[in-house]
Structure formats: C-alpha cells, structure tokens
C-alpha cells in the first residue's frame, strides 16, 4: 500500500458478521471468502476512500487495547492481501 493511498472496499463484497465480532468477507462475483477477526472488521469499515494507513492505524489503536507495535506493518499486509484478492481497490479520481 502506498503512503497516501486511501483504499476503498469493493462494493460488491459482503461483510457477513457471524460469531461474536468475527466475520466473513464474501465476494459473490468470485465466490472467494475470507474470515476476519474483530480488528479486521474494524479495518474493513474504514476502507471508505477517506482513511489512509496512518488514519487506520490510529483508529485501531484507539478502539482496541494492547495493540502490538508492528500494527502498521500488519495492517498494511492485511490490506494488501485483501487487494490482491479483489476485496479492496483504490478510488479512481474523476477525469
């Protein structure tokens, strides 16, 4: 993920909250599904084209206790992984 990039969730992907605060992200176009934990759910809800990585990290630190220090790297990897699977993209500026 580039420094100022503000990722956006693929609007076709369904966030299916299942047990407790765990959830499944389901892409009906590809039938791909991934399980995510409560932090993943919170991050997913911030993929609105308004938050860059720094803002997401800051929100996660605010919402959850005992967040380990390499959180920025982990979240960067998590979002990159979602992007590789087509769950996340970047908004294209209007021409």
């Amino acid at each position: 993920m580039k420094p100022n990039e503000k990722p956006v969730a693929n609007p076709v992907v369904v966030l299916r909250e299942e047990f407790d605060d765990w959830a499944v992200l389901f892409n009906p176009d590809t039938a791909n599904a991934v399980g995510i934990n409560p932090v993943g759910v919170a991050v997913w809800k911030m993929l609105d084209g308004e938050h860059d990585l720094a803002a997401i990290v800051s929100e996660v630190k605010e919402q959850f206790e005992d967040v380990p220090e390499p959180v920025a790297e982990e979240l960067d990897g998590f979002i990159d992984n979602l992007a590789e699977q087509g769950f996340v993209g970047e908004e294209t500026p209007a021409q």
Binding site: R16, F19, D21, P28, Q63, E65
Partner: protein, 398 residues
C-alpha cells in the same frame, strides 16, 4: 478489544451465526413432471401455492441485508417460472450466489446463456436416473430422460456448471454401471452424486414398488463401491447406498475392534444443517429444512428472517438435537453400533416415525443386517432378531 457474544443470546445457548449462510428456496410449487418418488409433492401438511415475483424480490433484499451468501433454488421445477430471470437478477442484485435444482427438461439455450452471464450461478443440478430412457422414465415419465440429457448438454454448451444427481430405485438399480459410464464418459461430467428414493412425499404412496429392498440396497452398495474405485472417487454420496456402504463398513470394523464411542456419534448428530442454513417453502413459510416441510417457523414478510433464525424455539431445538443419546430410544436398545451411529436423517425419521427427535429406521445398520443385508467387504452373519424393511411408519412409535 471487543469480545463476547453480541447476538443477545442467553448464556449456555448454542453458538448461532447471526444469519444463515445459505437458504434452500422452493421458488415454485409447480412442476412439469410427477415422479413416483418425489419427496416434495403429496405432503398433507404443505400448502402448494406460489408467491408473486414481487414478494420474492423483497425477500431477496432481506437476505442480502442479512448477509446470506447463497441460495439453492428448487421447487417444484424452478425453470417452470416464467419470471425466473427477474428473480435471479434480484438474487444477483443482492450480492448472493445461487444454484438451481432441476429435472433439466425446460432448460434451453436462452436461459442457459442468461445463467452463464450472471456470473453467480454455482451450478445447475439435473436429475438423471439412468443410462437410457427406459430406466429413468420408469419413475419420472415418458420423455423425461431425453429432456434431462438435453438440459445437461445445453448447460455444458453455454458454460454453466452442471451437477448430476442419480436417485437409485427399484427400476435403475441394475443400470448403475451403464449409468456411471454414460455420465462420466459420454456426458464427460467430472463427477456425479447419488442417493436413493426416500420415504417422503409421493414416495410414501409408491414405496413398495420404488424403494430399494435390502437385497437391492446391497447390490447397489457393491456396484457403487466398485465403480467408484474404477472412476477414482468421481461418484459421491452423503446418503444412500454408496454412503452407507462406506460408513457401515467402518462401523462394523469398529464394533469388531471394540472401539470406544466415536466423537460426534452415539447421539442424534446426523444433521448439522441448522447451524448454517434453513429453508423457505413456495408459499413463503420458513421451515427448518425441505425434508421437514411441515415444521413451519414463520412466514416471509410477517416474520424477520434473522429473528426466526436466531430465536425460533423449533430452530433452537434442532440445534440441541445432537445432545439426545441414541441409547434412550427403544429402537436402539441393545444395538452394538450405537457408539458409531448418528441416528441419520431427521426428515426420514419424521416421515417414518412421526418424530423429529428419533433415529431414522431407514439407514439403520442393525435393521439392514437383521433383514439379511451384508456389508460389502465384510464377512458377517445377521444379528439375531429378524425384521422388516419398514417396520415403523408415521406415528408408529410411542
């Protein structure tokens, strides 16, 4: 970090997903065929009515909002609905995938091309019960084999995933080898599924002429196990002779070794469906399962899908069914297989005994052996006691 159950469920209740992952949807109560072993028709507790498209489309919105991932759309025959395209567009619009269960006879290039274009169709399951018209049409009616095969070829030509289900009965039990060859070699399917005619719906009236006898069942098991070896596991089954042939061999070997109770056995554990899915009848009634179509939980647009799913007492009771020990049933008294048994399908248990919370006599290994059946690959004598194929019918057990 947020933890705990936010579903508002009482302490000690089984963990329940917030909404079903999948729904079995009977989109219509109409069908172009009248099969002799149809589980769907002739259930006196079911109202055979269809809902207008507008009702289904509104319901699909509710499903989408609840996060339902996929629908298995059956009937009746789903392709009989003139508004099927409109309905499927509603499914797609609400971010779900779907599969269709069909007899194949009404599938043409136009609808197959439409299905392919949706990009959301997992597969269409077509019922083919024989290698030739004679064996298939014996229970499904003249011309139905030709229609089913044409349907499969049409789907294949248009790039739609095809699954085939073979229902084994008295008329096709000797055609299994040729059927496997036809499906896997001639039609080129990757695999096909098998089951056998079950004591439900129309089949109850025709049971004596249609359902497998103990000897038929043994023959079907032997043939399917042999064929599955030849075809590298391309024949599948979760119930019926192939599944029984495998499971019963394991159970008998466990009994001979004196194994302790297997995990997840010895109780009514056969069906875990109610942890991830439920069903909707064509008239809009929510039910536990298509095989328990009498068990109404509520009605579309009158009751919330999520509320029914999370809180209906009958749904909750089904989720506790696995806690009921088989040893408490008269049917299972003294059975040496209890520790390896699941009690089998609740739908068949109900149709044969009038009770959901009861083991199904249909797939009972002890009864099969008492009736003179043999397990392929095992030399065994029949346990003492004799018995009949269907000693217990509706309401028969006190």
């Amino acid at each position: 970090m947020a933890t705990g159950n936010s579903n508002g469920q009482a302490a000690g209740a089984p963990r329940v997903m917030r909404s079903p992952r999948s729904l079995d949807v009977e989109i219509t109560s109409r069908c172009n065929l009248r099969c002799k072993y149809c589980y769907y028709f002739e259930n006196p507790q079911v109202e055979y009515e269809d809902l207008p498209a507008a009702d289904w489309l509104r319901f699909f919105e509710e499903c989408g909002e609840a996060g339902v991932m996929d629908l298995s759309i059956a009937g009746g025959e789903p392709f009989i609905r003139e508004d099927l395209r409109e309905l499927l567009k509603g499914v797609v619009r609400n971010r779900m995938r779907f599969a269709l269960l069909s007899n194949g006879g009404l599938i043409d290039d136009s609808i197959a091309e439409f299905l392919a274009r949706t990009g959301r169709c997992d597969y269409v399951q077509v019922s083919i019960d024989g290698s030739r018209a004679e064996t298939h049409d014996a229970c499904r009616g003249r011309g139905s084999w030709e229609g089913a095969v044409r349907g499969v070829r049409t789907l294949q030509r248009n790039g739609v995933g095809v699954a085939v289900r073979l229902t084994i009965h008295r008329y096709n039990v000797d055609d299994l080898e040729a059927t496997a060859r036809f499906l896997l070699e001639e039609l080129g399917l990757n695999s096909f599924g098998t089951n056998s005619a079950g004591y439900l719906g129309v089949c109850q009236r025709n049971a004596g002429g249609v359902m497998l006898t103990t000897q038929d069942r043994q023959r079907a098991m032997e043939t399917l196990l042999r064929l599955n070896e030849r075809y590298d596991g391309r024949i599948t089954a979760s119930a019926g002779p192939l599944a029984e042939g495998r499971t019963w061999k394991d159970m008998e070997e466990a009994r001979r070794r004196g194994d302790e109770e297997w995990p997840g056995r010895g109780h009514l554990t056969a069906c875990g469906c109610t942890n991830s899915k439920m069903a909707i009848r064509a008239d809009g009634a929510y039910v536990v399962c298509n095989m328990l179509a009498h068990a109404k939980l509520g009605r579309m647009h009158e009751d919330s899908l999520v509320d029914v799913w999370q809180r209906h007492p009958d749904m909750m009771a089904m989720r506790h069914r696995h806690e009921i020990p088989l040893g408490t049933f008269e049917h299972c008294k003294g059975c040496e297989y209890i520790g390896y048994c699941t009690g089998n399908c609740p739908g068949l248990a109900y149709s044969m005994t009038g009770k959901i919370n009861h083991p199904s006599p249909d797939a009972c290994l002890r009864r099969y052996l008492q009736d003179g059946g043999k397990i392929p690959g095992i030399e065994t004598g029949a346990p003492a006691g004799g018995g009949q194929l269907f000693p217990i019918m509706n309401g028969g057990l006190g």
